[in-house]
Symmetry: C2
Subunit: 346 residues, 2 copies
DNA sequence: TCAGGTTGCGCAATCGATTGTTTAAAATTG
DNA sequence: CAATTTTAAACAATCGATTGCGCAACCTGA
């Protein structure tokens, strides 16, 4: 069932005895239209409930005010906050956002990228899926000069905009914090190592150990596919039952960290006395679990806003791109809560 | 900075010595184009990396394959899952989704609705903001036969598609459950009463009390503006310090329920022995808090999918709309966890 | 062999807004 | 008052895909 046709500048032109071009110009205060005419036209437009058809304008201008957003899963705390930030910054400037999720499937990611391209988005913001190793599907955008901003999970060796946090430093600090609390055997729940975020977090962890002359123990490093609660629970159960269990765990996300806490509690371990735990992201669950989870603040909203700004900045002046580096690294910080705070125990 | 022009059917036509109309028809397997020609054209299109411009097609057809989604806040568990469901069902059918958030501001909601209208969405899915009492801004869609689906927070007296749960029944059951657990003085954290969801939940609560011959006590009913953690904490603190404190709380969302639990624990009350608590939504925090929170399952993903189906159903056959009622009420159920389960105490 | 039918494809208008180029009228100048 | 400049608005092409209509070329059967 088709939509009914809506009221256009042609209808308005006929009604007021002006040409469509005059209507168009009047509505955007073009200097060659007299003030009186502008007033007449705007008044009539408002009365008739005229609404511009942005499809037509976009087609003509070869420029849509729509930003494409391609994420893994919309309903995750970090992602939904990221999108919220993107949307806020975009709508403030009159841009719309078109959203697509890949569910961490490479095939979906490729077809979503195509769909966004076909919609002629003026820019695209993406975070890579777990499976993604090849990023050819983003090159089509560059070929028509549509800016691509990768956020959080970004590819290496692809010269485009990036918005990330310093995963290495955050992980280093988190691990160091555990060491300061007296942990000697620190486990690490790592994510897929072809993704920058998890690779950097692992490296930060390793370097913090090295810096403190702690020999890394591979049996304490668990690399997980999806960093799910189930994986976290299973890994915790396995590690804690060994002859040399960990006394601290640095997890690559809060989901596994919380599941570790729950599993440890169930088995009668005290947190942080027996095992100190620190997560990553500051998801809502991290402050609710008992004891509250220490974690790394992830500025999701801010990252989203910055992504939008990068797109808009590129569109407004393509020349400046060399001035500002294309790489943005946002500040994070540790949030120390009870799950790792051995010094403030009552 | 404008985008570069991309490769069009005209370019393809020139290259292959066919007319643009033949290209267009061939690409969609029109019967009047020979199999051989179709093959030639499709092959060339693939080689040249031709991608259709959906803006042009939408303009011509007066029909975009884009669904507008207007929510209050993207980064809330229920909403992000709802969007995820909408997106999944939409992308499966080749539809895109354009998202806008109102942040519960009426002004934003109105301007977002305008923006979505201007983008000529083929349908719109919306959940009302806290401030919204007037819904004139949704009538423009009906005027050009664009279907409007309200979900969860829906208006009364507006004849359009609705996707909701039975808030009344869920609240009735939740309250009844508390009564079965032996609660005599059950408090209720209510939301803004001009919104159907909170009004129905309150009514279900009241009727459950009445059914069990419990006199309602207005001092136990707290109506909140935003049902935030702060409000929940404050209300809990106030209620528990009265001479006749509640022994059960039915909260209109999980956020306030969790904050109630935390506040009660901090004050030394046992849950559920002293106070049983039940929330609404089944947010991730509900299963993490200690004790785990009993709550009402809210089928967010399913609701989202159904919203999309309603839109697509309307578009494919406008006649059927009388067959299926425009109102869809989805099933919910209680999730009983420790926060209210007095019978399974060890 | 020819009227009538089918097949395969091109022509040209259309969707609604935008904009470079004209044109007509009004205002200014000498 | 004629010449020139300024002002105001119209004309027409354009963006890319779609589609009703028309028109050859070919096929069919009588």
């Amino acid at each position: 069932m088709k939509q009914k046709k809506s009221f256009t500048i042609y209808d308005l032109a006929r009604k007021l005895n002006y040409s469509p071009s005059t209507i168009s110009r009047a509505l955007k205060n073009h200097h060659s239209i007299s003030a009186k005419t502008i007033e007449i036209i705007k008044k009539a437009a408002a009365e008739e409930g005229y609404r511009p058809n942005v499809l037509a304008a976009s087609l003509r201008n070869n420029q849509s005010k729509t930003i494409g957003v391609l994420v893994t899963r919309i309903n995750r705390p970090f992602i939904s906050s990221l999108i919220s930030g993107i949307e806020s910054a975009a709508s403030k400037e009159g841009y719309n956002i078109l959203i697509s999720q890949s569910n961490d499937s490479y095939t979906n990611e490729v077809s979503s990228a195509k769909a966004l391209f076909d919609s002629r988005v003026c820019g695209i913001i993406a975070t890579l899926g777990m499976e993604t190793e090849n990023i050819e599907h983003f090159k089509q955008f560059e070929s028509i000069n549509v800016p691509v901003v990768f956020v959080d999970r970004v590819p290496v060796n692809f010269d485009t905009y990036n918005v990330v946090i310093d995963n290495y430093k955050a992980a280093y600090d988190a691990t160091n914090h555990l060491i300061e609390q007296g942990c000697k055997r620190i486990a690490h729940f790592a994510g897929a190592q072809h993704l920058n975020v998890y690779k950097d977090r692992k490296q930060g962890y390793l370097d913090a150990l090295a810096q403190n002359n702690i020999e890394p123990d591979n049996t304490l490093i668990v690399t997980m596919h999806s960093l799910s609660a189930e994986e976290g629970k299973a890994a915790t159960a396995r590690l804690i039952q060994t002859s040399t269990p960990p006394d601290g765990i640095f997890c690559s996300n809060d989901t596994t960290a919380v599941s570790a806490i729950l599993e440890l509690k169930e088995r009668g371990y005290r947190i942080p006395e027996d095992v100190a735990v620190i997560g990553f992201n500051d998801d809502p669950i991290s402050s609710i679990v008992s004891p509250p989870l220490s974690t790394v603040f992830h500025p999701a909203l801010e990252m989203g806003e910055l992504c939008t700004k990068r797109i808009l900045g590129h569109l407004s002046n393509a020349e400046n791109e060399t001035k500002n580096s294309k790489q943005s690294k946002l500040e994070t910080h540790l949030i120390i809560r009870a799950s790792s705070d051995r010094k403030n125990l009552n």
